[in-house]
């Protein structure tokens, strides 16, 4: 089982749980299995622009993005992009 770790705001929205074990064959499948998937994907199914995903410490974009295959022991970490200082974020 892969493990997905959520940041605090998403964990609150997931009922206070910040660690999920998922049985998935790809990063996309793992993320879509989360109860907060609507917060990290938009209504068209695209990953929101400021959501970063790391697989075993590597930005998934340096691998195969959402199609990155999972063998079952990976740690997937969701990280909000640094957006400090913008009008809407500060």
């Amino acid at each position: 089982m892969a493990v997905v770790l959520l940041p605090g705001l998403l964990a609150t929205q997931a009922g206070g749980k910040n660690r999920f074990e998922v049985d998935a064959s790809s990063v996309a499948e793992a993320l879509r299995a989360l109860p907060i998937s609507d917060l990290i994907f938009d209504e068209a199914g695209g990953l929101r622009g400021l959501v970063n995903v790391y697989v075993d410490g590597k930005d998934m974009r340096t691998r195969e993005g959402l199609d990155t295959p999972l063998a079952g022991e990976e740690e997937i970490r969701i990280v909000a992009a640094i957006a400090g200082g913008s009008c809407s974020s500060s």
Binding site: I36, D38, D42, A44, R48
Partner: protein
């Protein structure tokens, strides 16, 4: 109770006498709460909560904000070519419509729930409104920020969209007609009185006088007495500017209204170096400064959702500032008391009853 939506979550303020207030710990931390309201039918709270990373949501709490449930699958259909940008305003349905909740959102869309906010369906008639291609987003996006339900006629409702104007539905939201006659759009010099495209900032229906609505617009303050067929411009006669955002009414007196003018579109701050609430008690014929107790000097801004009134026998009036203060007048503007300060930027103010 005051519900103060802020740039950093929702704050609930409690009072027994509307003079001494206690600020509860914030809830929905990390969310921009554009609007929060209590459903008078069951006491539950709704919040239009947005996050710059995780998008637009509407959330419901049945335990005074301790826990929240997010509506499922909020979004626009793929074939619309549009994406949900922000949730702006929650309007609980009528007493006779259990479970119904309306949500106004950007870009110029609405949603309807019939299960107390568990799920929302987009209002197709507005999504596919034939005039949509002529709408323009304002500085805050193309937001559906005002939803007003006629208390008697279940088919009659009004909405305000910046910058598309005021629309009326006589069939419960199945179709819409622009209702902007007499409302100026000075920013369109080639046609300053168009059928639509006006930048309505806030729209309120008086609950006690059939067909009377008030509007704070980018270009003036207006009143209609015929369900929006004709609007009368009300500025001057004591009002230092027609530009502003918030608006509040008095549920007992249809001729009373409150606005907070700003200098103008290019300088969005209260004029004359003070936080000035202006009150009319004669339907907008004349306006007087009703700011006893408000900051002077002060250079302040009050957002479109950040003014409210309660339904008590002696109505209270409430406002929140972008500088993080909540002010309360327990006597319809005669005096103001600072209920809280040093809050984050206040985005919305509503009143309710602590459950």
């Amino acid at each position: 109770m005051i519900l103060a939506g802020t740039r950093k979550g929702l704050f609930l303020l409690r009072s027994e006498d509307r003079r001494t207030w206690t600020v509860e710990e914030p809830t929905l931390e990390g969310w921009d709460v554009f609007h929060a309201v209590q459903d008078p039918r069951d006491g539950s709270l709704y919040a239009a909560a947005n996050n710059w990373v995780y998008g637009a949501t509407v959330q419901r709490s049945t335990d005074n904000g301790k826990t929240w449930t997010r509506a499922e699958g909020l979004g626009l259909p793929e074939d619309s070519g549009l994406k949900l940008e922000k949730s702006w305003h929650v309007e609980p349905g009528r007493e006779s419509e259990p479970g119904r909740v309306w949500l106004g959102a950007a870009p110029g869309v609405m949603f309807r729930s019939d299960d107390s906010g568990e799920s929302f369906e987009v209002v197709e008639s507005l999504l596919n409104e034939p005039t949509r291609e002529r709408w323009q987003p304002g500085a805050g996006g193309m937001c559906t920020h005002s939803i007003q339900l006629d208390p008697q006629d279940e088919n009659l409702m009004y909405i305000g969209i910046s910058a598309a104007g005021v629309f009326r539905s006589e069939d419960g939201g199945e179709s819409w007609t622009p209702k902007n006659k007499g409302t100026a759009a000075d920013f369109m010099p080639d046609d300053p009185f168009p059928e639509l495209g006006q930048c309505v900032h806030k729209l309120l229906l008086h609950p006690g006088q059939d067909g009377r609505l008030w509007q704070q617009n980018h270009c003036g303050v207006y009143r209609t007495d015929d369900r929006g067929e004709n609007w009368e411009r009300l500025e001057g006669n004591g009002l230092p500017s027609g530009f502003g955002f918030p608006l509040a009414l008095d549920h007992r007196r249809p001729d009373a209204a409150f606005v907070v003018p700003e200098i103008g579109a290019e300088n969005r701050v209260t004029p004359d170096g003070r936080l000035g609430v202006y009150r009319t008690e004669d339907g907008g014929k004349s306006w007087e400064l009703a700011s006893a107790g408000l900051p002077d000097p002060g250079w302040v801004s009050v957002k479109r959702e950040s003014m409210a009134s309660d339904r008590l026998d002696t109505p209270g009036t409430y406002l929140g500032t972008q500088s993080g203060s909540i002010f309360v007048s327990p006597n319809a503007g005669d005096e103001w008391i600072e209920a809280a300060g040093q809050l984050p930027e206040v985005l919305s103010v509503e009143t309710g009853e602590w459950q």
